[in-house]
Amino acid sequence: MSTHTTGAPGAAPHATRPPVGDFEPGVPSFEASGGDWDEIADSAVAAAALGEERIVVNMGPQHPSTHGVLRLMLEIDGETVTEARCGIGYLHTGIEKNMEFRTWTQGVTFCTRMDYLAPLFQETAYCLAVEKLLGITDDVPERASVIRVLMMELNRIASHLVCLGTGGNEMGATTVMTVAFTAREEILRIFEAVTGLRMNHAYVRPGGVAQDVPPDLAEQVRRADPLIRRYLGQLGDLMLANPIFKGRLVGVGHLSLAGCMALGVTGPVLRSTGHPYDVRKSDPYCGYETYDFDVPTATGADCYDRVVLRLEECYQSLHIVAQCLERLERTAGQPVMVGDRKIAWPAQLAIGGDGQGNSLEHIKEIMGSSMEALIHHFKLVTEGFRVPVGQAWQTVEHPRGELGVHLVSDGGTRPYRAHFRDPSFNNLQAVAAMCEGGQVADVVVAVASLDPVLGGVDR
């Protein structure tokens, strides 16, 4: 009944037995789903006794190559993976439930920590959804939108750099990791100058952004741009023509367009099949329809194409960043928060005597001159603004795919329900489709090309 592979080198991976209906009598079937690890282990032992050499290998939550706390349960026949399943939830933080007990503005600090490599995307998507519910989408000042686009695109580059860097590291190329992280440091320097933090910024707030960019930001970004380009060039040189790299990535982790659409996979994985679906083009937000950029696609639908695609997206993002800088100059002096004082986050932060806190001018204003400003500040920080009832759905083009935010408001100061459709959560479903039939080593490469960030997967 079973046909063993001879394991000849260069033999294409193929099924180890002829197709058999799953429910025909006498056919042992092994289905891995949640909560039945013991049963699987017992079945595997029984199968081994039948002479079929299937091993269940657990690439457990603690693993250097699984991009975070992901558990991969692989059933292996020799070196070929016959079944691959993911176990997730090892980083589940209950962020969505926690947001139901915080005000709308405080929700930003929570949602930012979901996918921690692209925090500004979560923040922006959430704030856009809140603004939709408030009805102030058109009142958000242009400068705020430009700053949001600038930060998001820089974050996209940083996120892709981590993906490429850790991907290279998982394949043994540590230099790729150090180069990628050094390039990322340039971007983190800029983030720190603008938001005060390197990661998890809580910078984008409903109505705009928390504070304006520093006056020398354009200079900083223009100084960093050629450095980042140089590092991206180095990454390209290290990876794209490297025969070992190509040998490991070309033809691996193939997922066709039909597979992607059925599994709801978006982002670079979908674009590597040739379909140019990008939320920035199909349903623009923050003024993306006014920017000039291309959406890179590839046709191979394998891991190598996704790497090429991510590098190309970094260059496109740098192009958008240059356009943002021009617009920042043009909109200098504009506010970065919506005009309605009952929603706009009041504080202007500055570095004070104790290294933090509100700027002295702001304190002088609320304590000295304007009673309304004091009341607004107090009410906004303690109670928060109220958002009219309804639901809103907002998607953004996250580096990993399409991030969706579903907000339900009951008219109060807190979200009634905040749900984040994280792209990594969805894309991880494709692991089975990508890895089954391939080699164990290809599992690592395929998962790396999906680029899951387990904080977003588990929320």
């Binding site: 457990g60 939550p61 603690q62 693993h63 250097p64 975070g68 706390v69 939830g89 090892y90 980083l91 589940h92 933080t93 209950g94 962020i95 439930k97 926690n98 600090t109 929570f110 920590r113 921690y116 490599l117 981590v162 850790t166 990791m177 150090t178 992280f181 050094t182 990322r184 440091e185 983190l188 390197r198 990661m199 998890n200 387990l454 904080g455 588990d458």
Partner: protein, 183 residues
């Protein structure tokens, strides 16, 4: 361990100094990055904040080969047994650095899903606050750990120190009953 069975006194203190120096000089961490702090830990290992100058750039994947577990990130209820298992698999001497507020105390996530401090699961030697702590803060914590390791008593002295620490902890006022200035 034979090196520690010297009786107390001058010989033991010399061995303590030597062992402390050797142990701290190349402390190998196990890859235990969980969430955002893991990225900062990787950035600390990258070239700008080089951990290699402390001999720590080799993050061993196998806990058998590692000395230090940097719990970097929020520990969920599902992950807690895994943390404990990896800690148990590490061989003595071993230290734990809980990086970030989520690992130290549950952080901003005071809810059903997160263990409120990894010290519920493993004994922690150094707590590092921050969300996430900058790589420089991580290096500061590592240097503090190095200090701690350098001055760690061995053998008989260690048992005495542990007894003293336990007695002190049992007598101390709980935090929420303390009075006086915040410092």
């Amino acid at each position: 361990m034979g090196i520690e069975e010297a009786p107390s006194g001058f010989l033991l203190t010399t061995i303590e100094d030597l062992a402390g120096y050797l142990r701290k000089a190349s402390l190998w961490p196990v890859t235990f990055g969980l969430a955002c702090c893991a990225i900062e830990m990787m950035a600390a290992g990258a070239s700008r904040f080089d951990l290699s100058r402390f001999g720590m750039e080799v993050f061993r994947a196998s806990p058998r080969q590692a000395d230090l577990m940097i719990v970097a990130g929020r520990v969920s209820q599902k992950m807690a047994p895994v943390v404990r298992q990896v800690y148990d698999q590490m061989s003595e001497p071993k230290w734990v650095l809980s990086m970030g507020v989520c690992a130290s105390s549950g952080g901003m996530f005071n809810n059903y899903a997160i263990v409120q401090g990894v010290d519920h699961v493993v004994p922690v030697d150094i707590y590092l606050p921050g969300c996430p702590p900058r790589p420089e803060m991580l290096i500061n914590a590592i240097l503090a750990l190095h200090d701690q390791i350098q001055h760690e008593p061995l053998g008989v002295n260690r048992k005495e120190a542990a007894r003293a620490a336990e007695a002190a902890a049992l007598e101390a006022t709980p935090t929420f009953q303390m009075k006086g200035l915040l410092q």
